[in-house]
């Protein structure tokens, strides 16, 4: 099926993006632009989930992760 290789590539891209974002947090909070970049990558991953509800739930998780990233970037002291 042609869809499967594309899906695997999307998942791979999202996985790499997540892996990069999972580096140990040092004293510097994340840069806000990185949060939005991670959100876009996560949306791609969510779109690759099987089924509407899985995609919807994955999208919610992406947004919550973005909120966490942003609040650490701009509210974290």
């Amino acid at each position: 099926m042609a869809r499967k290789p594309i899906t695997r590539k999307l998942v791979l891209v999202a996985t790499v993006a997540f892996a990069l974002s999972a580096r140990p947090v040092r004293a510097q909070p994340p840069v806000q632009d990185q949060c939005m970049t991670q959100l876009m990558a996560c949306y791609y991953w969510a779109a690759a989930q099987a089924g509407f509800w899985s995609m919807w739930a994955a999208g919610i998780d992406c947004e919550l992760a973005m909120v966490d990233c942003v609040r650490r970037a701009i509210v974290g002291r």
Binding site: V25, A27, Q28, P29, V31, Q32, M36, L39, I60, E63, L64, M66, V67, D68, V70, R71, R72, I74, V75, G76, R77
Partner: protein, 304 residues
């Protein structure tokens, strides 16, 4: 009476002219009292301030008998949990959001002692008196972003009057524009604001005792426009300390800059550009405010 005091105070803040710097700053205690890890939560119970960092560590800062701090690593977190926010209830009961849908009670030794599964995601946690303030994700409707209640009685949470959610054009912008922060409260009143705005809401939970004012003076100096209000502390019957954000902080880190003190007996406010730049307010009283500086040292700001 307190509500009238805060109303007069808020009016003085908004409409009074800012006088020349008359607040003084002096260091307290040893250097590097606290590590450079990002602080993700602050709670004040009595005379003790608790800090949660990104390490994650729990730090207690005390002023008696001497300024000191003790830090412990959090234990008992589950995989991928990154705690955010800190609230303290009577008897030093500490609560944090272990994840977006789990409340965790922390022991002073850093151990996760209890978990409460929430009925939906929450984005922030604060406290007032014996109850928690939790922030809900915003929706397209204009409604209160905070609710108040007891940690083990989720069905009893009630809306907190302000701040209200602000509509935006996209979902991502909605989430980002409606992040709430709250400062140190006093006598049942809590100061809260949307992080990207200069409007401050001071409330005790009742609509009639909620005041909302635009702190124009915050932008009098160079501030970070993404988060103009950096921290706020109430003290006594009507004292409000407002720490504005600083622009261009070292290492790209966000820090505080100008600290403004309001006085209910006068129309004018006094301020000082705090140096070294402060990270947050630890304690506040009528005439003095203790901050944590970017060097890890405590700074006292007071009237001359």
């Amino acid at each position: 009476m307190r509500h009238a005091g805060f109303s007069l105070l808020a009016a003085a803040i908004c409409h009074g002219s800012v006088q020349a710097q008359t607040l003084r700053t002096r260091p307290l205690g040893p250097e590097r009292l606290i590590s450079n890890q990002v602080i993700t939560g602050r709670a004040v119970c009595g005379g003790t301030t608790w800090l949660l960092t990104d390490a994650p560590e729990l730090t207690v800062v005390s002023a008696q008998p001497a300024y000191s701090s003790v830090s412990v690593s959090l234990r008992g977190l589950q995989k991928d949990e990154k705690p955010w926010g800190l609230a303290c209830l009577p008897n030093n009961e500490l609560w944090t959001l272990a994840s977006h849908d789990v409340l965790a009670r922390l022991e002073p030794d850093g151990r996760v002692a209890e978990r409460v599964r929430l009925d939906g995601p929450r984005l922030g946690i604060f406290s007032t008196g014996q109850r928690l303030l939790l922030q809900h994700p915003p929706t397209a409707k204009t409604q209160p972003l905070l609710s108040i209640g007891l940690p083990r009685k989720l069905s009893g949470f009630a809306p907190w009057p302000s701040p209200l959610s602000q509509p935006t054009s996209s979902r991502a912008a909605l989430l980002k524009a409606n992040l709430v922060n709250c400062g140190i409260g006093a006598d049942g009143y809590v100061p809260c604001w949307l992080v990207a705005e200069t409007r401050l809401a001071i409330s005790d939970g009742s609509t009639s005792h909620t005041t909302i004012h635009d702190l124009d003076f915050v932008r009098a100096g160079p501030v970070n426009d993404e988060v103009p209000i950096w921290d706020v502390a109430l003290a006594g019957a009507s004292r409000v300390w407002v720490l504005a954000s600083a622009r261009g902080a070292p290492d790209g880190r966000r820090l505080g800059g100008r600290l403004t003190k309001s006085d209910r007996h006068r129309a004018a406010s006094r301020f000082v550009d705090v140096s070294p730049p402060p990270r947050l307010i630890l304690w506040a009283g009528e005439d003095r405010c203790v901050l944590l500086s970017s060097t890890g040292q405590l700074l006292e700001v007071s009237d001359r």
